[in-house]
Each structure stands twice: as C-alpha cells, then as structure tokens.
Symmetry: C2
Subunit: 380 residues, 2 copies
Amino acid sequence: MNVIIVRYGEIGTKSRQTRRWFENILMNNIREALVSEGVEFKKVEAKHGRVLVRTNKAKEAVEVLTRVFGIVSLSPAMEVDANLDKINRTALKLFRRKKRELGLERPRFRVTARRITKEFPLKSPEIQAKVGEYILENEESEVNLHDYDIEVGVELMEGKAYVFVDKVKAWGGLPIGTQGKVVALLSGGIDSPVAAFLMMKRGVEVIPVHIYMGEKTLEKVRRIWNQLKKYHYGGKGELIVVKPKERERIIEKLRELGKEKYTCVFCKFMMVRHADKIAKDFGAKGIVMGDSLGQVASQTLENMYIVSQASDLPIYRPLVGLDKEEIVSIAKRIGTFELSTLPEDEIPFIPKHPIIRGSWEEFRKIYRAIFGEDPGKGEC
Amino acid sequence: MNVIIVRYGEIGTKSRQTRRWFENILMNNIREALVSEGVEFKKVEAKHGRVLVRTNKAKEAVEVLTRVFGIVSLSPAMEVDANLDKINRTALKLFRRKKRELGLERPRFRVTARRITKEFPLKSPEIQAKVGEYILENEESEVNLHDYDIEVGVELMEGKAYVFVDKVKAWGGLPIGTQGKVVALLSGGIDSPVAAFLMMKRGVEVIPVHIYMGEKTLEKVRRIWNQLKKYHYGGKGELIVVKPKERERIIEKLRELGKEKYTCVFCKFMMVRHADKIAKDFGAKGIVMGDSLGQVASQTLENMYIVSQASDLPIYRPLVGLDKEEIVSIAKRIGTFELSTLPEDEIPFIPKHPIIRGSWEEFRKIYRAIFGEDPGKGEC
C-alpha cells in the first residue's frame, strides 16, 4: 500500500469556504498525529472530498488515524495509473492478499467502483464488471453483491486509480480545534475522562485541570491524561494541577458549623470555581464535567444546581443521559478504564452522610460564613 | 405464561431504604404503564431484588414494560410449585414452544438455574442437570453451554419456581420520578426529543415546553410528545405551549439596529427565558436542550454561552458529545424520527447569515436597546 484514503463525514456538508477550513485543520491534526507517533509519511493532501495520506507505513498510520476525530473511515490503498490492466492486476493482488488473511478457500466478493472525476472512459458499473471478471478468471471465487467476504474498492480521480480491500471505521466527530476550547475537570474516576473524550470527539480542544488530592491520585490522573492525549492531536493541553489553598479552611469551618454534610458540594463548587478562573485565563468557553444523574446518591439535580452557580460559563455534562454500563463501555474502548481503577489517595474529609438535595439558600449562608461574601459569579 | 420477571439494574446497589423507595416508584410506574395501555394484570410485587408482574397478557405487557425506565430485562415466565416434576414438565413445554418458534430441528440448549431463596433441596447445578436430562430424554436436542439456541431459565424462591425461555432487553436507566424534574424545550426537530428522552431515561420527569412558531409545527410537536409519553409513565407532563409576545418587537428592533444576524441567538435566549420561568413555577431544577456542537454553523460554544445566560438553572445538553448519526439512530429507535421529519411552518425571520460566534457584550448592548434593561438572571 502506498496511500491511505481518509473519509470524513459532517464536514462534507458545509459551505466551500468552511469545508476548506475544516480540511486544513483535519490535515494538520493528521500530520501532528503521525509525527507524534513516529509514523513516516510523505504527504497529506485534500482531494475531492477526501484526504490522501501518502505513506509506506499504511498499517501503522491507520492505527494512529483511527484516533483522529473527524475521520469516519480509512482505506489503505494502492495508487496506480488509471488504466484497466493496472487496475485489474492490482485488484487481483489485493484480493489474493485478503483471501489469505481471511483463510477462505472460495471467498464471495464484489467490486465497488466510483469515478470521483470523470475522465476515465469506462463508467463505474463497467469497471466493476471488468475487474470482477478478471478476478473470476484468475481465482476460485464467486460474486455476491449482498453477502460478500471481500469488497474490492476502486476509486478513480485525476488519472489515478485507488484500489483497496479494507475499510476501517474511525470515531467520526469533528476535527479538534474546529469548535473552540473548554476546561475539562479530571478527577481520576471513570467518568470525567469519558466526558472529556466526548467533547474532544465533537472538535473541542480540552484544557485538562486536576484539583490536587494527593500524589497517588495525581499520578493516576497524569496517566489518564496521557492516554486521552492520543485522541487530542491538534490540541495542546498539558495537565494543569491546582493545589487549593482554601480547602482546609472550608473543611474546618464546615465542621465548626456542623455542616460537614455539605463538604462534597463545597468541594465540587470550588473545583468549578478554579476551572472557571483557568477557563477565563485561557479563553475557554465552557467547563466539561463527568456528572451523570443518580449514580451516587448525591448526584442530584439540586446539588448540580448549586455547583453550577460557581461559574457563568456553561457546564457541559455529556454523560448526563448515560447509564454507568454505557460509560464504562466507552472508558474501556478508549483505554482509560484500567487507569481509572488504579488506587488513589484516600480522602479523609468525606462525610458519612453527604447532603442529597442541597439547598442553594443554605449553601449561600454557609459560604458567607466562611468567606464573608456572597458566592456570586464572575459575570453577574 | 402467568408472570413476568422484571429485572432492574442500578437500584440494586443502593441502601435498603433507598432500594425500597426505588422499587416502589418502579412498581408504580409499571402499574401506570399497564393501566394506560389497557393491559390487564393482577398484581405487581417486589420480591428479593426483582419485581413480579402477574398477568395473563404477558406478551402485551412485555412490549409495554420495555418502555419503563429502570428495567434492564424482562422474562415472561410460568410460576409453578417448586417440585422437580412440575419444573421438568414446564421446562419441556416451554422448550418445545421455543423450538417451534425458532423453527429448529435439533436446537442446542442450556439450563440456568438460580435459587433466590434456599429452601429447595437441590442446588443450582443439580437442578440444571436434572432439567437438562429431562429435556434430552424427551426431545431431539443437545446441550451446549457456550453456543446455544435456547436458554431455559429456572429461578426458585419461596416455594415457587419460575421457568422461562426468553429474556427481553429493556432500556435500563432509572425509574422516572426518582431524580426530580426538568423542563424540556421541544422544537419539532430531530434533536430535542432525543435529549428529553435521555433525561427521562435517567429517571427525570420532564415538563415539555414548546415555543409557538405556527400551527403546523405545533401539531408536529404534539405528536412527538405523544410518542415520548410512551416512555414517561410515572411522569405527568402535558405539553405547555408558549406564544411569545415579545418576538415581533425583537425582530423589528434587530432589523432597525441592523443586527438581524443575532435573531437566532435571541430566539433561543428567549426560549430559555420562558423555560426558566416555567421551571420555577413548577419546581423543576434544570432545562434540557437538544444542543450539539458544530452540527450547524451557529451551534458554537460562544452562542451557547450567550443562551446559557438566560437562566441560572443548569442547562442539560445530553447530545453535546454525539454525532448526528448517533442522534438519528436513537430517534429512530424511540419512534420520534419520522415525526420530526414531518413538514413544519416556515420561519420567515431567519437571517441569511446567522452570527457564528456571538459576543456576549454585543448581545447585552442589543438587549438593553430593546428592553431598556440588562439581560441578568433571576437569581443574581
């Protein structure tokens, strides 16, 4: 294989100008991914609604590129001059390779041809018929359009033919950098990396922020972020670690007031406060959190209301409609699950009975007692 | 079949007290679903971590109950006295029925037994062996533990045996009413019903609100909500329709100011304002919207920032991490897709070039020019 055909989805539906802009970001992210992972390539170029990556390391490159968002599918292909003889021989060669790989005696197959530009003299159905005949003449096999083991693809453009037998599915989504930036709060648990991942998938660059709990948890979060970075080509984002100075004062004061049950809500509120400040420093337009509803008793609409008051920025909660099972399944696919289950620092100040449905009025009173001022938001 | 075994998921992991509360809500929703759909039943009861629904209309009941959130799977079963002879004969009868249904000559099967309470003298592996033998003596078939066509289930509790050959998957999630209420903005498009559905799935009662655009769209939204209601047993929610009085004034003023490009952002901002007011009237703790990122050019983090300022309530956007394809696929499964693609009223005031990345400062200025006051939030 000497080239990879990269297909992208939603970008294709935009205006010409937007599309050019999208393609450029996508190509940039592809280059960055390949360079970062040390996969050699010659050229990345956009052509007629697809991106071509010229490389002799097709297998390695495909593995890397399945992690670049915006890409829907990938086909490692042979580029040859668009003449029927060359197409036939390339198709047969790839067919044989795939047949060996599948270990089938008599594979059923079909040929799917597409003329992207129209200068080639034969039409698509004719190309399909010719290539199909050629394979049948040379190999024990049969054509089956609906139920096939091998699909031989032929795409023609600008005097070249691209022949392939594989179509690898990627994540879809939008290229990172097309949709601005948000701050992602990473706690070390299973949920927050999945939430960050889903925002990244929709083209958002993520600024990862961790509120320090201890060295063990920090190490864990570093490993989680290193894993997430494999999906973040095109984004910058080194992990930002905040050591909150106010924590002990809050905990002490809550104890004094007999309001320990508000500890978790305060802790989350302060996390969002820190995220808010960092977002504003970096020009990020939102905060993403791993909240989902009812997973633990204290994940209630009431407590989320209180926490949301810590910032005027929208808080994105892409997991809010998912069951734990669905979240875990994504975490496993993206490789963060195992890291999230590593040991972490015990948190000594978690109350026995955290408040289930916190009251904003009560929270405000406690806040004023601790800080001598109203919680308020930056923008209000 | 004379009973349905209802299995639920996440509830099982809570404290005894919470669990009782969950079970009661789930049972209530089950009853409401069956009554609403006119499916007769005798009794719904909780027993040892499952719910039993006694009915002679098992098939109809199962179809309805797959739409009750909190339920993970359902098995229509025969309840018989827990003695081996009866279990054997029931198992054989159900095995034969299933064999006919599948149209198999020599099905592979396995028996899975579980003693929920332990008074039955044989242990689970022994029951499995006995029932398996009995089926093998009477029917052309073979046992295969890993690769089977039929699984015969036997659950034993309190002197009864429950025998079944089907396990129907349901949506999971949490029972509606366990997680409070939110307002759902329904526009008539594909996305907003899916967003409302996902919140409902996590146990949230939804108050559906539509901002009036015209009769055709309203009729469409009514049909969409009628479809969503089939997943909303346990919730009340009649559609609330708001006819916004301020719309014409805003549009006129935007034209005067030469700021037509802000029309869509204003329109959404005002929608959230209305949703906010209704939420507060009804004690709802959030607003759910069908926003996803980058689907249309104006779905940007910047515009979502502006819209979010219309309320101090958290705005839940369960679709924010999904691709259009994924949203469409859910819409099709839940039966709203076709309704969402029905014709709707044309909106005459959509500008040619809506603002892509709106500025909050500019929005504020325009808002002041129109309303003579700051946009502000209720709570600030």
